[in-house]
């Protein structure tokens, strides 16, 4: 319970607002970030699922890829970095992607959007310097890589998000899950996607830093909107079964092991129109065909004790099978929940395993993901 040092940490454009709202600031990915507000993680989590929560995710990297020549060359270059169908993404749409390495591991996961004459990419805070360097190294001939440092990124999530945002930006109500649109607003040009990382319907909003506080205060003044910290962001995404880079996925995990095969469209798979041709294709395509040796699974601890990251997992006969990569308590499911990797032989839902908590083996059951049904507006 000592104070965290804030020396050398960057501050968000909305830093003063977080402090004024009573946010408890902690170091995260090189930034001072609010981990919770006075309401606390549990209340913030439940409020987001019941009404609407406002998250400051400005620490994440926002990058524009602008074609030097034609857009097709940029698209082809970007597609060569990921096992993902970029060329097939229509204008006005966003898609989940992942940069892979030659070993088929994951360098980062990201969102990319096609606004028409460029691509807009949002990457994880801890990876953003490496991601920008990666894109500059591989896309130098086809794109200008612009790392934007003058825009904030806010997420408004929950069943009340549409009503709260459409009061100021009426057009957002017409958007569907993963649509992207640009709006001219009194807070500046707003780049909105209907997406998020909580399992709820909602929006991610890129806004010039100068307009960010006005937008945040306006949304927070809307009945039903509450500020939400990193603590609840983590429990919300865990309940939604979503991966956290550096925990559930990293350079040692392949997209197939991570259960992210839905992100690998048909066009990039064996037999597809543009099969392979991405880093790590050999391993990834082989794992798609033959199945991986281990898999990310949902885990339901059978006692009330949470199983945190690093908890070792065993079969009931004592064979080591893997470990928990994210774990805690799910406020909406009112039970401990976790995700982790286990040998593929023990990955079927319903499989009884054991997790070692403080030296004791406790029962835990493999369970389908997500823990909490998603409510995206398709």
């Amino acid at each position: 319970m000592t104070d965290h040092t804030t020396e050398g940490l960057k501050r968000l454009a909305l830093h003063d607002l977080h402090v004024a709202l009573g946010g408890k600031m902690v170091p995260f990915a090189g930034y001072e970030m609010p981990v919770q507000y006075p309401a606390g993680v549990m209340t913030e989590h439940l409020h987001t699922r019941a009404q609407a929560g406002l998250f400051d995710v400005s620490h994440m990297g926002q990058v524009i890829l602008r074609p030097k020549g034609d857009m097709a060359a940029l698209v082809a270059g970007f597609e060569a970095l990921m096992p993902v169908d970029v060329a097939g993404l229509p204008e006005g749409r966003q898609r989940y992607g992942l940069f892979t390495n030659e070993q088929g591991g994951i360098l980062d996961d990201l969102m990319f959007a096609n606004p028409g004459d460029h691509l807009f990419v949002v990457v994880n805070a801890a990876c953003k310097a490496a991601d920008v360097a990666h894109m500059q190294a591989h896309l130098a001939e086809v794109a200008e890589v612009e790392h934007l440092t003058d825009r904030a990124l806010l997420a408004l999530q929950g069943p009340g998000a549409e009503a709260a945002l459409s009061a100021w930006v009426p057009g957002v109500a017409e958007m569907r899950f993963m649509d992207v649109r640009v709006f001219d607003t009194l807070f500046g040009p707003m780049w909105v996607s209907r997406s998020g990382y909580t399992g709820e319907d909602g929006f991610e909003i890129s806004v010039p830093e100068g307009g960010a506080e006005g937008l945040a205060r306006t949304l927070l003044a809307t009945p039903g909107v509450m500020p939400i910290g990193l603590g609840a962001r983590d429990s919300l995404r865990l309940e939604a079964g979503l991966c956290l880079y550096g925990h559930d996925i990293d350079t040692g995990t392949s997209p197939v092991e991570a259960g992210l095969t839905w992100a690998i469209q048909k066009a990039r798979r064996t037999g597809g129109a543009r099969a392979g041709g991405f880093p790590g294709a050999e391993r990834i395509l082989r794992e798609l065909a033959e199945g991986p040796e281990r898999l990310r699974v949902g885990l339901a601890p059978q006692t009330r004790a949470p199983m945190r990251e690093g908890t070792a997992l065993f079969s009931p006969d004592g064979t080591p099978l893997g470990e928990v990569t994210s774990g805690g308590f799910g406020p909406s499911v009112q039970a401990p929940i976790a995700m982790g990797y286990v040998a593929a032989s023990h990955a079927a839902p319903g499989t009884a395993l054991e997790g070692e908590v403080r030296g004791k083996r406790m029962a835990v059951t493999v369970t389908p993901l997500p823990f909490q049904l998603t409510t995206y507006k398709r």
Partner: protein, 119 residues
């Protein structure tokens, strides 16, 4: 009441010492979702980890503040961990200890000293 630097409180009840965590500690922990209590009739030494508290954020330990025997535990906390946030210095006591000499408590902070300690 007496207080430890680990944010535990101790209250004398007859010849027993009742132990819990302070309101400051409960606030810092956040919403408590799991409590693991020690076995009764266990001899413990000062500084032993005797309970585990897990909040939505993290796991923490409660240390035995004194040498002695755990004679009673508050099983209500197992079924309702949120009591730790609701009433940390009352209903949410963790365990009762029998110790040789109650004078051992004199070494610990009183209420004013603890208030200074947490600033």
């Amino acid at each position: 009441m007496k207080y430890t630097k680990e944010h535990e409180w101790m209250r004398v009840e007859g010849d027993l010492v009742v132990v819990g965590i302070t309101e400051h500690a409960a606030t810092q922990l956040g919403d408590v979702v799991f409590v693991e209590l020690p076995e009764t009739e266990t001899m413990v030494a000062e500084g032993d980890e005797v309970c585990v508290i897990e909040s939505v954020k993290a796991a923490s330990d409660i240390l035995a503040p004194l040498d002695g025997e755990i004679v009673e535990v508050n099983t209500k906390l197992v079924d309702k961990p949120a009591l730790v946030n609701e009433d940390p210095t009352g209903e949410a006591w963790f365990f009762k200890m029998k110790i040789d000499d109650l004078a051992a408590l004199d070494d610990y902070m009183d209420e004013d000293e603890y208030a200074d300690f947490i600033g």
